[in-house]
Assembly symmetry: C2
């Protein structure tokens, strides 16, 4: 991550990363498919934790609350604001990384929808609830990494879901 920040993503080679980490290139490739995967190594685990939280939400809660439990679980995983901020800056600067990040986001949304259908939520409610939860997550994450707001990611997520309720039920005028 440091190397990417110093040199830019494209100019950093696997040899550079392996050397900094005290690994051989061969060992590096045993852990990561390519140099991009270093940035996305946590994504599969994150998805697993988030989807498990949707599954484990009490059966009686509205679909969006099950999704909110899944999104909130991300905050137990994403605790290093400085790391997330640097990672985000890198991704924003590179279209190939942006694409990979978007694909991972789309996959997570689909996994949420599938978990809701398993809970007995019908379509299109399952997809709408899943994508809405992802929208709240993205807004909360952006506020957190942009750092113009104090507060943890958990707080940003909670504020986001409160804002959703406000947006859906309250008058604005």
């Amino acid at each position: 991550m440091e190397l990417y920040g110093d040199r830019g993503f494209d100019a950093t080679t696997v040899a550079d990363i392996a050397a900094r980490a005290g690994l051989t290139e061969r060992t590096f490739f045993r852990h990561f498919a390519d140099k991009r995967e270093v940035l996305f190594a946590g994504s599969a685990k994150l998805e697993e934790v988030m989807v498990a939280a949707v599954r484990e939400a009490p059966p009686s809660v509205p679909a969006i609350e099950a999704v909110a439990a899944g999104v909130a679980a991300a905050a137990t995983f994403l605790t290093d604001q400085e790391f997330s901020r640097r990672r985000q800056r890198l991704i924003d600067s590179n279209p190939v990384l942006q694409e990979r990040e978007l694909i991972k986001g789309a996959r997570l949304g689909a996994a949420f929808a599938a978990a809701l259908r398993e809970r007995g939520v019908a379509e299109p409610t399952a997809s709408v609830a899943a994508e809405t939860g992802m929208a709240v997550f993205r807004v909360a994450f952006e506020r957190w990494v942009n750092g113009t707001h104090s507060g943890s990611l958990a707080e940003m997520i909670q504020e986001g879901f409160s804002a959703l309720t406000t947006a859906v039920v309250s008058q604005t005028g």
Copy 2:
């Protein structure tokens, strides 16, 4: 559009498109910056129509209803299901086009949030409502172009916002 479908996007040249449309290349470039713009020529107009509808919603309605009015306005613009389906297939098959489509979607979400702030909606409610509306729009549009469901885009959008209310307020168990 026909040419893209027959030959694939990459293999179709501006000369091909101009010839099919009975234009010279010079005339083509007076209307479109490049061959990708042919697919996105309607996007600016669509954004304008959608944002205007958010602005014109009654001041007393909840933020999501103003956004819903904006999303519903898309259905008056997107009426040719076969065209939208072919366009979507093309975009799905080409990462560069996908990226452009995602950028246009992000810009529309930001424009919705700005229109809501003008209506006096505070952050993060404005961003959450805007991104939630975009999420409903994407789910509705996908159901419409996938065509496994009968019904117009307007109906899919209405069902999507009903599903949002269900997801936020109803029990699922």
